[in-house]
């Protein structure tokens, strides 16, 4: 398969502040890639560099066969010639144009005939369920509708790649869930290649074929959502991809991937991940949903008193706390509200990760 977008060793500074420190990535035809990372890691910057809105210092960017940026040759194609679709977090709809004119603008710039413009705009609006809103102004639309107009505007001239910067983060919690299913379905249906920025790992996993995790201007790890979630290479990835318990455990012994821990006076079996080695203080984590609660003693478990249970609707999140003085605390899900008391929390060895 061909790469629709290739970024090679991109470096970018703001003033003297390095923001991107050598990012390489590619996007294949028909693929949806999520750019994930904590705030300030440079996601937006990378997207903007691809779009031509920021000038990198070094590296190269190709869109399809075209080279659009080459740091070595000092070549940089202006944003308007890159022919990309870009959806902003704030949607950035032009408030003085109707929905129709917002969407049609890209076609007008491409000097299409009036009737063809009308056809294509109506088409894409219908496709996005906005057919009846063509004559409205952006401020007369709800957030979700605005977001779809922004997408329509970016799609209408069939760009090879569409870039989305946190397209869902301005939506209500409720709307967001629907929108993400809609967006995924739309991208797949229209056979687009999309690069999407988000800082919400759940959103990234739900929507993308591949995740690129950015950390401090570098790519920390990339892969399918499942591999990122289930087999993180680094502590950062592991912590970022899910809800975790971080445990103050001491490593006692390592044997290949198998590790022996001591936690709260209990010996536990765990598995090593990443490149960590040696004994002593290690970083030990376990996903909240992997902790199993039992009222009776079980294997590879520690015993802790229940502090409180938070209702989450479909389940409870229960908080266990070690004796005063230790900073051991553990969260676990349970289907029902637990009675106060002490419980055995089983930490399956293959899910208890040491970095």
């Amino acid at each position: 398969m061909t790469n629709e977008l290739t970024v090679k060793e991109l470096h970018l500074d703001y003033g003297t502040n390095p923001i991107l420190k050598g990012v390489s990535m590619h996007l294949q035809k028909g693929e949806v890639v999520a750019l994930l990372g904590p705030s300030g890691s440079g996601k937006t910057t990378l997207l903007r560099a691809v779009a031509g809105l920021e000038s990198p210092k070094a590296g190269a960017i190709d869109i399809g066969e075209r080279n659009v940026f080459d740091g070595a040759q000092g070549f940089e194609m202006p944003a308007e010639q890159r022919n990309l679709g870009l959806v902003f977090q704030s949607y950035a709809l032009w408030p003085h144009k109707t929905v129709f004119d917002n969407v049609a603008y890209g076609l007008k710039l491409r000097k299409l005939g009036a009737s063809e413009i009308k056809d294509r705009v109506s088409d894409v609006l219908k496709n996005l369920g906005l057919g009846h809103l063509a004559e409205r102004y952006p401020h007369q639309l709800s957030g979700g509708q605005q977001q779809r107009v922004a997408i329509a505007r970016a799609l209408v001239y069939n760009p090879p790649v569409i870039l989305l910067d946190e397209p869902l983060s301005n939506l209500d919690a409720k709307l967001r869930e629907e929108a993400r299913a809609f967006l995924r379905e739309l991208i797949v249906r229209m056979g687009l290649s999309a690069l999407m920025v988000t800082h919400d790992q759940a959103e990234a996993m739900a929507i993308s074929d591949r995740i690129l995790l950015l950390n401090n201007g570098k790519i920390e790890q990339q892969g399918s959502p499942q591999s990122m979630y289930e087999t993180p290479d680094t502590l950062f990835t592991a912590e970022f991809m899910g809800s975790n318990n971080r445990l103050p455990a001491r490593v006692i012994q390592r044997e290949g991937r198998q590790v022996q821990l001591e936690l709260n006076g209990t010996r536990l079996q765990a598995s090593a991940r990443g490149t960590g080695a040696g004994t002593g203080e290690g970083s030990t984590i376990i996903r909240v949903e992997e902790v199993k609660i039992s009222a009776t003693p079980v294997d590879n478990a520690i015993e802790l008193p229940l502090l409180t249970c938070m209702y989450l609707g479909d389940r409870f999140e229960c908080l266990f706390k070690g004796e005063a003085g230790t900073d051991l605390s553990l969260r676990a899900y349970f289907k029902y509200r637990l009675e106060p008391g002490r419980y055995w929390l089983q930490l399956p060895a293959d899910k208890l990760w040491v970095f």
């Binding site: 779009a51 809105l53 308007e80 603008y105 000097k111 505007r153």
Partner: protein
Amino acid sequence: MNTLAHTGRPRLNWPRGVVVTLATVAIFLPLFLIFYQSFLNAPFFMPVKELGLDAYRFIFEDPDFAVAFENAFLLATGLAVIAVPLGGMLAFLMIRTDLPGKGLIAPCLLVPIFVSPMVMGFGYVVAMGPVGFYSLWAKDILGFIPWNIYSFTSIVVIAGLTHVPHVYLYASSALKSLGSDVEEAARVTGASPLQVMFNVSLPMITPALAYAGVLVFFLGFEVFGLVLVLGDPEGHMVLATYLYKLTNKLGTPSYHLMAAVAVCLVMVTLPLVMVQRWLLKSSNKFVSIKGKGARSKAMPLGRWKWLAFALIFGWLMFTIIMPMSGIVLRSFVQYWGEGVQLADVLTLQHFREILDQPALMRGILNTVLIGVIGGGCAVICYCAIALAMHRKPDLITRFLDYSVLVPRAVPGLLAGLSFLWVFLFVPSWLDGMLKGMDNGVALWLSEQAIPVLRSLRSTIFALWLAYSVVWLAYGMRLISTALLQVGPELEEAARAVGATRGKVTRDVTVPLIKYGLLGAWLMVFLIFEREYSTGVYLLSPGTEVIGALLVSLWATGSTDLVAALSFVNISLVAIGLGVALRFGVKLHN
């Protein structure tokens, strides 16, 4: 089918180049002439002249200069000290609180902006001078007159109070773009409206206040008409009137001395610009994080309400109603003063005389034209310059940023003279150059283009250019405020769909600041209405404007015509203003 122009390399941004070059020439060519002149001992165009520091030596030895300089500094400082806090407070009361009568006050605030200070000063003489009718009234009641309108303190106070609206304009537009949540947070914490104003609102618009402060400080150095009218009796002199004196002091006009004074002024103001830049540098501190739905309910002033209203009314009374009533009264009477029964001397004679004089009628028309059309053109130029600086944080932008303030540091009279020089000598230098090149094209140019250039001087274009350059700082700020409110992503979105920079400007940026531009047009119109000193040397028959006519009428003693003409002018502008506001032109975005 999706075709976009592909040129490969980014092209030279020539529209920007043209704008920047033209702006630079318009700003610095006259300044350069002044600078050059200040180092000569005779007019620079005379065959006999010598380079030297004579001019500086003379003014530094002249005790009058020291006095004038000190006074000018006091005046400018006092003016800023009075106008900045009051303007800020006024803006707060008008924008944020439930002050009664806001609808009425808002248009009144503009009056001091478009009434020429000379007229204003004259109004004060008639109203509050030693035998002014308010004074006589006060004397009847109190037995003495509690004020002396000719004292330097009074001049400073009047100048300060009449410049409050300038500060108000900047402060209010800054306040409007400031989310009210920070103020509400203070109120919930327990701050009364007054405390909110002093502890939160005003500190947060420090950048706008700093800008306004520097601008009014400059204007303070430039105050001329007011001091001319009110300062004469007790002999108070500031730099602008000192300049005026210099035209006569040595018998023949001494350009080198005037130029030297102007250079001193520019030198004084430069550090100020620096200070202001420095203040603004830490302004990222002031960028507030805006929440969604930045809505606000007017802050209830409670028992302060009527006190605030009374204060504002007092200000209106003193800066607008009293001097204006002086003018109006003067325009309807034959004469006035101690012991005159006004009812006996009422007349419409002065208005009839205006009708009889075609030059005056033409002056009124020209003034309106230069205000409306010239103001519009000026706004277009300001907009072009602002766009050339818009989102391009480079050296050129920084350079322009500094440059726009400089012309205002030169007193209008001298600025006008230097523009006359530009229009006179630049064509003849060019002519000389072209003739020297001695080829067909050059000769043709010298025959065809030079006369056109020369004839520009006696058209209203010359006047317009001088006005526009002098008020550059004022106008640019109005427009850049509007531009700042355009979210960058709106422009970036257009580039992403394939619009070139030029198209982005045309299709997105400019339409979005449409209302800001209209408001700026109105404000520039007002300021052009009242301008006079800059135009003095650029007028020719047919291009008279009221401001300059007033000065010359004043000098020849037709004070009754001055009053009547001012009355007509103020009424016209007020009507125009009413119409504009009626049709939805916003005063600030």
